[in-house]
Amino acid sequence: MTNFKLNEVELEAAFQSRIDSEQKIEPKDWMPEGYRKNLIRQMSQHAHSEVIGMQPEGNWILRAPTLRRKIVLLAKVQDEGGHGLYLYSATETLGITREELIDALHEGRAKYASIFNYPSLTWADVGTIGWLVDGAAIVNQITLQRTSYGPYARSMVRICKEESFHQRQGYEALMVMAQGSPEQKKMAQDSLNRWWWPVLMMFGPHDAESANSAKSMKWKIKRKSNDELRQAFIDQTIPQVEYLGLKVPDPDLKWNQERGQYDFGEIDWAEFERVIGGNGPCNRQRLEHHRRVDREGQWVRDALAAYEAKQQARSAA
């Protein structure tokens, strides 16, 4: 018997040359197991983040101060759920089910963005999350529009459009407060104080310490390094902070004329590790909420399955 199958080394070389020439990898294409695993990890983490992120903002839907704000917020949280759905589907193209991905989340094997382990304590936080958290996500996701895996790249194109919309809405909500009463200004500043550093942490550890980075860059799953993205975010955000008349809680922040970029202080990496390690203010609450809702919805999903089975039996008869 002749074996036309290329061996693993040849396949991998062909794969890498496709990546190097900026061709997209599609679900049916051969891919190294490590590439597939790496993508599942990153894409499902992204999907879980969209869904868990519904909690801190959803927390304010019932308390939104005007009808318009209520509509905008509810629609935003709904969008995030849609992003989650879209990303779960894209991840499923890699041969894994949404149920498996959610099990991994519930069992602590999969992560979500650590930023959502912080609480949304005031109405200003809704604005700040839209402006800064969605803003940071966009900086990352814009580069992911060119990621090597086709379904992921395409989902990023669509999601980015909505995220920029969220960012503008968040900024606008905060602007009203920053120009409002002394209490509102104080609320806005307090919110920025609490979210600034956690948002910078969203870009992950320094490049040198980032465990998954090298491989991800080689495979063009990731297109820019953590530190590059963080710097880009700071450079674009500081003028927006100044326009609001607010101040970031970083005494070391200053414009560096030579570099043409902002210098900024060191992130508290101990806090980063602490929150990622499960000791943020809301880790248990976020995960437990997701587990509880999943448990409570089981009878509905069972009913749906039973009804569909009956329908099929009827149409077969």
């Binding site: 009808l67 629609a75 749906l304």
Partner: protein, 258 residues
Amino acid sequence: MKDKQDDLINYVIALGDDSLILGQRLSEWCYHAPFLEEDLALANVALDFIGRAQMFYEYASQLETRVLKENARSADQIAFLRDTRDYRNLLIVELPIGDFAFTMARQFTVDVFNQLYLQQLVNSTDSTLAAIAGKAIKETDYHLRRSQEWMLRLGDGTDESHQRMEKALKELWGYTAELFTMSAYETALLRDGISIDRTALCSDWRKIVTELLQQATLKVPSDEWQVTGGREGLHTEHQGDILAKMQYLQRTYPGLEW
């Protein structure tokens, strides 16, 4: 003339209250639904109702402006700055969301009613109300398709879902009578063809609901009890809980822009 204007304002606000309070209740499901698709769908329905409330309140605000000039309330003031006794919504919309069966049973009974009601309201001699109804009826067609489907799924799903659904129907049945109860201001507006005769919709509603419940293998609850009062501001205790949350920022920081 002034009385007639008051009747119209009260009527429009009552319709707004029905939409707002139901929308507020439905939005409680966002990130609490049995699966992600349902989070999105329930949020969609909630958005329709809150948007509808906004249209009614904007109109009420315009009507007030004609009479009260600069002392008229804005839509948000109407929505957020009244106390329990001044809200005019039907009791059925203020009841807590309960389990998914209760939410869907309520939605179904209200959707059937809304469809019948809006089909009439599009012919209102008040062109603004007719226009709002014209937009709302398309949304309601979609809401009803959904809630109807869920009645079938849960009624004819598992034993547990069937039991939960029958329990839900029993718990809310006595509140459905109010859908067909005319308030004084609605009656007053009837002669000019502005409002709708709710009592006339009852038999059609019953027919549609009964047929679907039968199809869903569910019993139609008996009419042993009924409670009304929402239109006169005689609410359940749940109304206060809704308002405490909804009005929190407006009450804590009075008179600010958000």
